[in-house]
C-alpha cells in the first residue's frame, strides 16, 4: 500500500469543448469595420464576413455564399448588401438573398446564417448561440462612461492572435491571484472573486512590483503606487476592468480596460484589449492618449507572458490547488453555463459564489522576493544596497 503522498498525480487533459460559447463576443472596434468594405473574421470555427451597409448597420454573415460557395469576404458591399465575387448574388444583413442580377427570381431557400450584432461604446459585438436563439435577457453589457466623453481619451486598442490554446486559458486568469505577481508584475494585496448569474467579478487591490521597471515610473514624474480594480466578465468572453491607478502625488487616474476574446476554433482565439483613461486636468488629448498607450504597452508585456505560458502549458481538468489559489473549479462551473443549452443551465452554475483570498502568506513571500531581487541587482551593479 502506498500513502497518498507517495502517489504520482496525473494530469487529466480532456478534449476542448466541441461547441462555442453562447454570448456576446466583441469583434473589435466599430471604426475598424464600418468602412463599407467586407472584412473577414474567423470565429466560432467558421469564416464570417462583417460589413457595414450604406444604412450604417454592421452585419455578420457566414462568409460562404449559399449559391456555389463563393467567399463573400472577397466580395463587395453594394447598397446594404454584400455581393458575392463569384456570381454577384446579393445577401442582406438578415441572411436572405435579396437579389440575383441575372435571374428572374431568387430561389426560396436562399438564406444563409446571420449573427445578431450590437454596437456599443465604439465596439462591435456579435451574438453566438449554438442553439440559434436571439440574445438572452441576462446578457447585458454595461455602458462605458468614458466613451465619447471629452473628459476621457478614445480607445487605445490591441489585437493579437493566440495559436495552440483554447480560450478557457484566458478566462481561468480571472481567479488566478498568484499569476498576477509572476506574469503581470502586479502585487495583489487584496483579492476576491464573485460569480453570480452570467457575471464573474474580480476585486483586486495591487501594488506595482518594485523590482520591475514600470513605464509610469520612468522619468521624474510622480511614481505609481498601485491600483484598485473591479473587473467583471459579462458572459463568456467580455471583461470590463474599472481600474484606478494611484500616484505618489496623490492623483488618481481612473481607467477603463477591456479584455475580450473570440474563439477562432477550439485551439486558437483572438485576444483583444483596449484602454481609455480620464484625462488629468490640464493635460491635452494627445498627451493623455500617449499615457494610455504607455499603460497599454505595459499591459501588453503581461499578456505576451500569458501567451508564452499558454503556448507551452497542458490543458488541465484537474488542477491541484493550494489554499492560496483562487476558485478555479468554481469559475469553470460558472463558465460551463455558456457551453450547454439554456435548458441545461443548472443553478450550481449561476448561483452566487464568493471567494476571498487571505493574501498574508503570499504577500510575505513576495515582499521577500522583491527585496532580494533589488538587493541582487544592486550588488551586481556595484552599488550599496
Amino acid at each position: 500500500m502506498t500513502a497518498v503522498g507517495d502517489e504520482v498525480r496525473h494530469i487529466e487533459s480532456g478534449p476542448p469543448p466541441t461547441r462555442f460559447a453562447r454570448g456576446w463576443h466583441c469583434l473589435g472596434l466599430v471604426r475598424d469595420f464600418d468602412d463599407g468594405k467586407p472584412h473577414q473574421v474567423n470565429a466560432f470555427g467558421q469564416k464570417l464576413v462583417v460589413f457595414a451597409g450604406e444604412d450604417g448597420a454592421i452585419n455578420v454573415l457566414d462568409a460562404y455564399c449559399r449559391h456555389m460557395g463563393g467567399d463573400l469576404s472577397q466580395g463587395e458591399v453594394k447598397g446594404n448588401e454584400i455581393a458575392c465575387p463569384f456570381h454577384d448574388w446579393r445577401w442582406g444583413g438578415d441572411g436572405r438573398c435579396k437579389q440575383i442580377p441575372y435571374a428572374r427570381r431568387v430561389p426560396l431557400r436562399a438564406r444563409t446564417a446571420a449573427w445578431p450584432t450590437m454596437t456599443q461604446d465604439g465596439m462591435l459585438f456579435v451574438w453566438n448561440d449554438p442553439e440559434g436563439n436571439p440574445p438572452t435577457e441576462d446578457a447585458v453589457i454595461p455602458r462605458i462612461e468614458g466613451y465619447d466623453n471629452p473628459e476621457w481619451t478614445d480607445w487605445v486598442w490591441y489585437t493579437t492572435r493566440i495559436e495552440g490554446s483554447n480560450c478557457r486559458e484566458i478566462v481561468d486568469n480571472v481567479v488566478d491571484m498568484a499569476h498576477f505577481f509572476y506574469v503581470h508584475f502586479t502585487f495583489p494585496t487584496y483579492f476576491k472573486n464573485i460569480f453570480e448569474g452570467t457575471v464573474a467579478t474580480q476585486l483586486m487591490t495591487g501594488q506595482g512590483r518594485e523590482d520591475v521597471a514600470r513605464p509610469q515610473n520612468s522619468g521624474n514624474g510622480p511614481k505609481s503606487t498601485g491600483t484598485t480594480s473591479t473587473a467583471a466578465y459579462y458572459g463568456p468572453s467580455f471583461m470590463i476592468d474599472d481600474v484606478t491607478y494611484h500616484y505618489s502625488d496623490g492623483n488618481d487616474m481612473p481607467t477603463t480596460l477591456i479584455n475580450c476574446h473570440y474563439p477562432i476554433d477550439a485551439n486558437s482565439f483572438v485576444l483583444q484589449y483596449g484602454i481609455m483613461t480620464k484625462k488629468p486636468a490640464g493635460v491635452d488629448d494627445e498627451a493623455a492618449t500617449a499615457t494610455a498607450r504607455k499603460l497599454g504597452d505595459f499591459i501588453r508585456i503581461g499578456f505576451e507572458q500569458d501567451v508564452q505560458i499558454w503556448r507551452n502549458k497542458a490543458r488541465i481538468e484537474n488542477p491541484l490547488l493550494c489554499e492560496e489559489d483562487g476558485p478555479v473549479y468554481q469559475l469553470r462551473r460558472w463558465y460551463e453555463q455558456f457551453y450547454v443549452d439554456v435548458a441545461d443551465v443548472k443553478p450550481e452554475m449561476t448561483d452566487r459564489f464568493e471567494f476571498e483570498i487571505d493574501t498574508t502568506k503570499p504577500n510575505e513571500a513576495w515582499r521577500h522576493e522583491v527585496e532580494q531581487n533589488i538587493a541582487k541587482r544592486a550588488a551586481a551593479s556595484g552599488q550599496p544596497v
Partner: protein
C-alpha cells in the same frame, strides 16, 4: 463536460452557516481566519437584507453586490465558536497585550 468539484473540498468541505440577521443559510468554508468562501442559493440571496438595501456603486461594474457584512460577521462568529472549521491551524490572531483570562469578558464587549 462534467463540472468537477474543487479538489480542496476533499479535505475540508463547505459547512452550513446561518446569518444572525436575516436567517439566510449558506455554505461556507474558511481556509484561514482571513479567507472565506461562500456558496449562496436563491433562498439565501432572497433573504439577505443588505443585498436588498444595497444600491449600485459608480462605474461599469457597480452593479455587483460585493458582499454582506452581517453574514461575514456570522461566519466569523461561527468559526470563533468552533462551529465552522478553519483549515489553517494558526490560532486566531489576538492582541499580544491581551490576557487570556480576560477573553470571555472582552470578546462581547
Amino acid at each position: 463536460m462534467a463540472v468537477r468539484p474543487d479538489v480542496r473540498l476533499d479535505d475540508a468541505p463547505m459547512q452550513p452557516v446561518s446569518c444572525g440577521t436575516c436567517g439566510a443559510v449558506v455554505e461556507a468554508r474558511k481556509s484561514s481566519w482571513d479567507q472565506t468562501s461562500i456558496q449562496w442559493n436563491d433562498d439565501a440571496l432572497a433573504a439577505c437584507m443588505e443585498r436588498r438595501a444595497s444600491s449600485p456603486r459608480p462605474g461599469p461594474n457597480g452593479a455587483t453586490f460585493t458582499g454582506c457584512a452581517a453574514l461575514r460577521d456570522a461566519i466569523r462568529e461561527a468559526a470563533v465558536r468552533g462551529l465552522l472549521d478553519v483549515v489553517d491551524d494558526e490560532p486566531l490572531k489576538t492582541n499580544p497585550d491581551h490576557h487570556p483570562d480576560q477573553y470571555d469578558t472582552e470578546v462581547h464587549a
